[in-house]
């Protein structure tokens, strides 16, 4: 994290960030677009994810199949993912082959084909992707939880989209979505790895500066009203294993509370919600007692307030009610007394090591730079992340627990297997 970072904005609004790292002869090139399921409304759920799939279906210069072949032949890895808040594309390649990635991303920012036949083939591929997810009880449970926690905000629906929308979205709707959001002024490009900044920047200018800026994208304005009273649901389907999911509101990644909740999360489950952490409060209370086979938590960094979740796999012979009660007891404990200094210190040490590891890989570094800019709009967010965690006090953890884990703001979901 000590390497110098260059951040500039091109005339067309494209933000470019370059960070040299020389331990391996590799470069990772990412383009992030500020569009995700957050930008979708009913009737068009799944548009962003489907657009991402179409970005692999070719341009006049790089026909479908050729793209794949070119990157793979050069010993690169490439992929893309769509989340709630943004869509990201990346290629990591041997340093001397990076030009193809720069050209490819510049080209498909404006020239992706959206051929009607390819759109139809991809319709069934994405339906199949969703069907695969539906086979997992955890997906059903999380989808129902989002539906319950968000009535107004678009975090309500899954990134994959609703099956009805996947069946009806038109080629033109996809293309409009692409044209509206895939604009240099709605994007951030990041390079990390073995290059010389001046030379790479000149090449980036050459390829990306001619792309015209687009109209600003419409802002997402609907905010979720505050919850008044606990809520619950069950999903009942054939199966063998029960699951419990609890959700409470979470702050945006930009908020000071986010870092306090992150420390609280480390104490509950271990750094990064790691389900492998065996000395955390939740592991002791649920797994050591044989109530649950696994327990984990999730805190996401998001633009708008999202949810923090705790989930557990109910052991054979135990009930969702018992598991829920044990999770609630741990939540209540956080509201009643401050965490110990020893627990706080442990969480901070874990964070230090975690950040040392996270900064080792070139591809991960590029991801974090882009994620910071997409979610918080501030490149220093990730750089200052550790310092902000280290500043958190036990009183602040107590305060954040008391505000976010109020009984009236809790949401409970059970997956109940039926014979």
């Amino acid at each position: 994290m000590s390497q110098p970072v260059t951040k500039i904005q091109l005339d067309n609004g494209l933000t470019v960030v370059l960070k040299e790292m020389h331990h391996a002869p590799v470069i990772s090139w990412w383009v992030f677009y500020r569009v995700g399921s957050r930008n979708e409304i009913p009737g068009g759920t799944g548009l962003s994810h489907w657009c991402e799939h179409m970005m692999f279906k070719g341009t006049p210069t790089f026909p479908a199949g050729e793209l794949d072949r070119i990157i793979s032949r050069d010993g690169g890895i490439w992929n893309a993912f769509t989340g709630t808040d943004y869509t990201a594309y990346y290629e990591t390649l041997p340093a001397d082959r990076i030009d193809i990635a720069l050209r490819l991303e510049a080209d498909r920012m404006v020239n992706t084909l959206f051929d009607p036949e390819a759109v139809e083939v991809e319709r069934t591929v994405i339906m199949s992707e969703r069907e695969g997810a539906e086979n997992q009880p955890g997906f059903r449970l999380r989808e129902a939880m989002r539906g319950m926690c968000f009535r107004v905000h678009s975090y309500r629906h899954e990134v994959l989209g609703d099956m009805d929308d996947l069946a009806t979205i038109s080629r033109d709707a996809l293309y409009d979505h692409y044209r509206r959001h895939y604009r240099p002024n709605n994007a951030v490009a990041v390079a990390v790895g073995h290059f010389e900044t001046g030379a790479l920047l000149a090449r980036i200018r050459e390829l990306y500066e001619p792309i015209p800026a687009g109209a600003p994208t419409p802002p997402v304005t609907r905010t979720e009203p505050e919850q008044h009273g606990a809520r619950r649901f069950t999903v009942e389907r054939p199966g063998t294993t029960a699951f419990v999911l609890i959700a409470v509101p979470a702050p945006t990644a930009a908020a000071a509370d986010y870092f306090r909740l992150d420390i609280l999360d480390s104490i509950l489950a271990g750094s990064g919600g790691a389900s492998t952490n065996k000395t955390s409060r939740l592991y002791r209370a649920l797994v050591n007692t044989q109530l649950a086979a696994t327990v984990s938590t999730n805190l996401s960094s998001t633009i708008d307030p999202y949810i923090y979740t705790l989930s557990a796999t109910v052991n054979e012979g135990r009930t969702p009610a018992e598991v829920e009660a044990a999770l609630v007891a741990e939540i209540d404990r956080l509201l009643q007394s401050p965490v110990s200094e020893a627990e706080l210190e442990k969480a901070k040490k874990q964070a230090k090591a975690y950040f040392a590891y996270e900064s080792e890989r070139i591809t991960d570094q590029a991801y974090w730079v882009g994620d910071s800019l997409m979610v918080v709009g501030d490149i220093t967010w990730f750089d200052h992340y550790l310092d902000r965690l280290l500043d958190v006090t036990a009183d602040e953890v107590l305060d954040v627990a008391q505000r976010y884990f109020k009984p009236a703001r809790r949401n409970f979901g059970w997956f109940v297997p039926t014979p």
Partner: protein, 427 residues
Amino acid sequence: MSQPNALPGPDNITRRVLPNGITVLVRENHTSPSIVINAMLRVGSVFETRAVAGLAQLTASALMRGTATRSFNDIYEPIESIGASLGIYSAGHGTFAHAKSLAEDLPLMLELLADVLRAPSFPEDQLAQLRAQITTELQYRAQDTRQQAALHFYELAYPPEHPYHFSQRGYPDTVPELTRERVQDFHQKYYGPRGMVVAIVGAVRAPAAVAQVEAALGGWENPAQPGLPALPDIPPLAQAVRRNVYIPDKSQADIVLGAAGPSRAAPDWWPAYLANNILGVFGMYGRLGDIVREKQGLAYYSYSTISGGEGRGSWRVIAGVNPKNVERALDSIVGEIARMTAEFVSEAELEDVKSNITGLLPLRLESNEGVAGSLLSIERYQLGLDYLRRYAEIVRAVTREEVLAAARHYLDPQAYAAAVAGPVEAP
């Protein structure tokens, strides 16, 4: 501009064999303050029978639950307090330990690793907890289409007397039988230093790392430790065998289709590896991705994988499709196997995958984990310390004729094992 780390080779890998049979490999990397330990012991599920399926994995996961001098907390608290990780799991022919920590904590990590390997106490309450977790996992597996298709594929592709026929995780009827006595006995008999490999990569001086391994593990002996058992022959399948596993109310059916493939030591390993790459890996899942996903839109995933290993690991195609498209997808998959075993791949296809495989090497070796994994493989399969430098040459030497011969050796469009799990009735 500073220069990247050179490829690991004989001049920068330290290799030492300790008197008790442990091979230590160290590669220094001072670009970040962390270290990785990858270790392998020559013990695994190949020592099991069907009656105690799951014993090797349970033993490995119970090692860290207590020792003669340390409780569960005494093991995990120091590790998690310093943000380190240490995990041990077992597979067919080996039991693997993986650790990551800041470099200054290497002695502590080695001390803990040595203690849990040499003096585990297998506390009864911890074993009960692990058995309960595994039982829940097995229950989940019973309704998971992907896992069920895989489980039944192995039963069809390997004869009942072969260890690959069984699940390494165990079965609902075996897990309750994995008593403390059996776990202790398995540990005493099969765990030992002979053939063990310890690879360390990171910000540590090689001589110091070797000395620390020797201090922690140099005194370990188990004179009765056996070598890995010989595996039964796998007769070729005489015809296509198909099994449908009915799991109601699922949105998707999963398919696993294939046969036993080559071992890592087989003379046609590399031709088979390249054939597999062309069949279902290169780009977006190779030829299978092209026909099943890109042209017909039948599946989100449709790819192939080849396992290798000490024995004849599987070579299999995996696809997830809408239940109504199962037969169409199977026809396409078998069609691609037919093409793979009937015709030469094109020069261009072969060139593409060679270029891909050799080009990926620097990326694989970017991290300490990647280098440690490669060092372990070099020792495990006796590839030689210059292996990574010869790698491109080995891959480049494979011909189209060899690729076709390897495909024909292991795959047959008339004789394969196929398992389908989901809302599908018997065929």
